[in-house]
């Protein structure tokens, strides 16, 4: 029973990783940039949710939507201000800029509200359901369902809508897409908006599940989500979901085996092994479909 319980813990953690990883993967898929500021968009989303619930007394779903909207706008702004003019620069320049943006967001937040943690208010009365001896809290079911709904929505956008088609076209070949009359700039902005909105949602969910939020909270989940994206095959949307879930479960199992202090190390070991043996990730193939 304990193992099933650990699996439940791992899936809850993994669905948060998966939501953040989707943003990494989409941005990488379309402009080949590892957006290191993504973890901090996640943090901002968490704080917006916190203020929405604790100060402005909104419910969970309005707070979630507000956080997603503001994060989407923020993602677009970051892209327009910091990354757009570097589109033809070397990749290392863009990468360093991303790290710079990340630090800017973190320390601007600390400047305005200090570095002390805040405690998320209780939105739902947390009930534990007993399913065959396994305690499943209502919050973890909520996390999982919100994550799954958002992922299905994303698949729908990418595969069934016009903007999704444009995103797929730009990711294959931006120049050819431009020749076909696709507005590449707007498509890239849309990608950032969607990815950041998902990170914002993950931030609110994280706050509700783990209670404590602080301005540097985005760093570790951001790195883990990056690993999850690489694990699944960066640039591939189902890969990010599977990678995130898998990473969450692996971390829980490592802890369950009594190596809780090795949990973070395990994630990095996975990154190293993947890069050595299968750099294109689990879902990576020679002819692959990207966002």
């Amino acid at each position: 029973m304990e193992w099933i319980q650990q699996l439940v813990n791992g899936i809850s953690l993994g669905s948060i990783y998966a939501l953040i990883a989707l943003g990494y993967t989409m941005v990488y898929g379309i402009i080949k940039l590892i957006n290191f500021a993504h973890g901090d968009v996640f943090m901002i989303g968490s704080f917006i949710g916190f203020y929405a619930i604790a100060r402005w007394e909104l419910g969970f779903f309005p707070a979630l939507l507000l956080a997603m909207t503001i994060c989407a706008i923020m993602g677009v702004l970051i892209e327009r201000i910091a990354y757009k003019r570097l589109r033809n620069a070397t990749r290392i320049a863009a990468l360093i800029t991303a790290i710079g943006v990340s630090l800017l967001i973190e320390y601007t937040t600390i400047f305005f509200r200090g570095a002390q943690p805040a405690a998320y208010p209780e939105v739902f009365k947390n009930k534990s359901l007993d399913i065959f001896g396994v305690q499943v809290s209502s919050t973890s079911i909520l996390i999982l369902s919100v994550a799954v709904v958002l992922m299905i929505l994303l698949q729908f956008i990418v595969h069934k809508t016009k903007i999704g088609k444009a995103m797929r076209a730009v990711s294959h070949d931006a120049d050819a897409a431009r020749l076909m009359g696709i507005n590449v700039d707007n498509t890239i902005s849309a990608t950032f908006a969607i990815g950041s909105a998902l990170a914002g949602a993950a931030g609110v969910i994280f706050g509700i599940y783990y209670t404590k939020i602080d301005p540097l909270m985005g760093v570790i989940p951001g790195v883990k989500a990056f690993i999850a994206a690489v694990l699944g095959g960066i640039g591939i949307i189902p890969g990010a979901m599977v990678g995130g879930m898998l990473l969450g479960v692996v971390e829980s199992l490592v802890s369950a085996l009594g190596f809780s202090l090795w949990r973070d190390a395990a994630a990095f070991v996975i990154l190293i092994l993947i890069l050595i043996f299968r750099p294109s990730g689990i879902f990576g193939k020679n002819a692959r479909e990207k966002v």
Binding site: E251, L261, P279
Partner: protein, 408 residues
């Protein structure tokens, strides 16, 4: 495949930068002990001119732990006033000379030198934090002026790593590992715990010390440690470790650590249906703990602390009343009480020594037996640490309520 090569580059860059960050963090955490030494031993023993006895107070009155030092100072002032109103020490009044060390090691060293060489104090109240106190120990030894810290709990203030005792360094509070012993005794004797679990912060020496002494004592009491798990500071997800602990079915869980993580642990444990008593130490003592865990989850949890203002004992209630009168009705916290006690501890030693010579005072401080103070009655052991009772507090609806006192 070109793609994946570039990805490899990103990956290795990421791994390299996080390794570097880890190394830097490792270096940062090591400076807790501070760097003492570098003193100019110019002054000899202290003197007292005319009918006052000068006692220095080297305190954090500004800087990042200013609240600790200021609290110690308020307690000390009250004690000095009381002693002087009752005729002083053998007819001589105490004069308290306060110096601000700005919460910095180097300033603490400078303040100690100033107090000894310029003000010619006979004894000193050492800084509130362990790091700042360690920075003044060497000066005290060189100048033969005893120092007493109210709240420096690190073992290396009074005892060096090689086991030698710092002749002139004393303290009023108990040391960190002692709280582990108290918690273990409380668990076995008061709660009847048999199968216990330990969930410790593996990133702090404080928590590791507590966990070690708790484990030794509970085993000696006939209890069994059925699960031992660890976490590191800044973690947010403790459910996996708690699941393992729950699987071992303990009837008591000891959680040494600081309030930021403990708040989440308590909340998550209760959510998972772990309803056994949880216990920690003075690291839990913060209003943030209640915010993070929620008042309801904190029911049936206990902490060890230096003192409780709600303790019904007359001596403590007299102190609470006097302190409230002097400080516009503010209830005294543990730091106020420890500052107050430190002055009484020094005054008692000067009185018994019958002299203001540093060496005589030092011997009297070391010989103190059964001195009754607000934070407990204590005797000093060979390592210059007080052997005293600890107070156990219980959380009830988010408030700390006095539970009992536990003798070592």
């Amino acid at each position: 495949m070109k793609e994946s090569k570039k990805l490899k580059k990103f990956g290795s860059l990421l791994v390299a930068s996080s390794l570097l960050a880890g190394v830097l963090a490792g270096c940062g955490s090591g400076d807790d002990s501070g760097s003492g030494g570098g003193s100019s031993s110019s002054g000899g023993g202290g003197s007292s001119d005319g009918d006052t006895i000068k006692i220095g107070a080297n305190l954090e009155l500004s800087g990042n732990v200013a609240s600790y030092g200021s609290s110690i100072g308020l307690g000390a002032e009250l004690a000095v006033k009381e002693i002087n109103d009752n005729g002083g020490i053998d007819g001589k009044k105490i004069e308290l000379i306060k110096v601000d060390n700005k919460s910095e090691n180097s300033e603490a060293t400078a303040a100690a030198i100033k107090l000894i060489t310029q003000d010619k104090v006979v004894a000193m109240l050492a800084p509130a934090t362990s790091g700042n106190t360690v920075a003044t120990v060497q000066i005290a030894n060189d100048n033969k002026i005893p120092i007493v810290t109210g709240s420096g709990t690190a073992p290396n203030i009074t005892v060096n790593e090689d086991g030698s005792v710092n002749e002139y360094a004393f303290r009023t509070c108990f040391i960190d590992p002692f709280q582990g012993i108290v918690a273990a005794n409380f668990a076995s004797n008061e709660l009847g715990a048999k199968n216990v679990a330990i969930f410790a912060d593996n990133a702090s020496d404080y928590a590791k010390g507590l966990a070690k002494s708790f484990k030794e004592t509970i085993t000696a009491n006939g209890g069994e440690v059925v699960a031992e798990e660890a976490y590191v500071a800044k973690d947010a997800d403790f459910r996996t470790q708690l699941t393992s602990i729950k699987g071992a079915n303990p009837d008591f869980i000891f959680i040494p650590g600081y309030y930021e993580e403990v708040g989440l642990i308590v909340k998550q444990a209760r959510e998972m249906g772990i309803d056994v008593p949880l216990m920690g130490a003075d690291g839990w003592d913060s209003p943030t703990l209640v915010e993070l865990a929620g008042a309801e989850a904190l029911n049936n949890t206990y902490i060890t602390n230096h003192y409780s203002a709600e303790d019904p004992e007359p001596k403590i209630q007299d102190f609470v009343k006097a302190f409230k009168e002097a400080n516009s009705d503010k209830a005294p916290d543990a730091f106020n009480a420890l500052g107050y006690d430190s002055i009484y501890y020094i005054a008692d030693a000067i009185k018994r020594a019958g002299s203001t010579d540093g060496e005589a005072i030092k011997d009297a401080l070391a010989d103190t037996k059964d001195l009754s103070l607000v934070t407990g009655t204590f005797s000093v052991d060979k390592d210059h640490n007080p052997i005293k009772t600890a107070t156990v507090l219980e959380f009830k609806d988010g408030k700390q309520v006095f539970n009992s006192k536990v003798n070592p």
